[in-house]
Symmetry: C2
Subunit: 193 residues, 2 copies
DNA sequence: GCTGGTATTGAACGATCGTTCAAGTTATGA
DNA sequence: TCATAACTTGAACGATCGTTCAATACCAGC
């Protein structure tokens, strides 16, 4: 059923791509109006403000990331391999298909300050949810004996989060894929030891 | 000798703090005019444009970072310990004293796009210089037998770069220092193995 | 077919953006 | 002391920013 009412979900997705590619400040409402084919009045009726729309795109991005993580786990024979697939896909895959190499949440906490305190803490909170998801998967990996129990799942999840942030930032700064793949292998080798 | 001519170096330093804290787009020329106590004409006579000034601040930041790295090496008994001191200081020290937790160069490549291609590649180039400096120090560490020669200095320098980027981003996203210190110890433990 | 509410339109608002430049001020050398 | 060069000033420019709102178009229920 097609309605005259604009598709909210579609608008959020298109806005996400713009914000992800260009950041909060460098994306103007006029850029968004053009991308989603809505006039300012409709956008403001739906989302309230630029900040309101941006907040929804952050949540949309995080939701999509969680779904991709679940897919990677489901497609793999073990939890740890699923994690590696996810990280590989996040770091390498984003280079061509995604709007930016860098994680949108990391990009956001890098760009924003206390001038946009609510958006900043929203991004921080969503990042912590990712870490929690990592920890849950690592618990399974420990139970299945894939990794030893020398370190707590929380500590390893923290470690993985640092690696993912660092790898994606590094991938943005440097062109070659080969070196990055090598680095990812190093990360998962160190998890077994 | 105090001249009526404004102090270029001082202006660059103050502009660096502003750009580092708020990013390129969120820092207006009027913010800078106020911080450096210059009128627009003088600034544009000295630096040409906002982009020109920003480029100089990137170079100033990189120069200061290199100097701090040298200081850390000089203050330590071994190359590897000097590196650890540098990374510790970069990640923990920046939390209170510096304008931002995150490396200004990483923040820049996260924020900017091809709309500011020259600034983007300038930041990338300066980041590569840091990696080269890491590699040179790791060569010394290998010669002194601090770390084995299983991996090339370039590969380990790449690894360190990823860690530094990741740790500083993580430090921005999460409050506690203790967890970050733990993570840094993990990094240098893995370098010996 | 008419009516009442809901959604959309696009011109317009004041604020702020990066930048320019004629006018004014200060230092220099003869 | 005065002409000239060097530097600073601050008002002003056009463009664009996020946002508003009266006018218009649309559709459901009677």
């Amino acid at each position: 059923m097609t309605t005259v009412k604009h598709d909210r979900q579609d608008a959020v997705e298109k806005a996400t791509d713009l914000f992800w590619a260009n950041g909060f400040h460098a994306t103007s409402m006029r850029n968004i109006q053009q991308a989603v084919d809505m006039r300012p009045g409709s956008i403001y009726a739906s989302f309230g403000s630029k900040e309101g729309l941006f907040k929804e795109t952050l949540q949309h991005y995080a939701r999509a990331s969680q779904a991709r993580l679940n897919d990677c786990i489901a497609a793999s024979t073990s939890p740890l391999e699923g994690l590696k697939l996810f990280i590989r896909d996040s770091v390498i895959g984003s280079r061509t298909s995604a709007p930016s190499d860098i994680c949108m949440l990391v990009k956001t906490i890098a760009e924003l300050t206390n001038d946009n305190a609510e958006l900043l803490s929203e991004a921080k909170g969503l990042l912590q949810q990712v870490e929690v998801a990592f920890a849950a998967i690592l618990v399974q990996a420990q139970e299945q004996g894939e990794i030893n129990r020398a370190k707590t799942p929380e500590r390893m999840a923290r470690y993985l989060q640092v690696q993912l942030m660092g790898l994606r930032a590094y991938a943005r700064a440097n062109e070659g894929d080969a070196q990055v793949i090598e680095l990812i292998d190093d990360v998962f080798d160190s998890l077994h030891g």
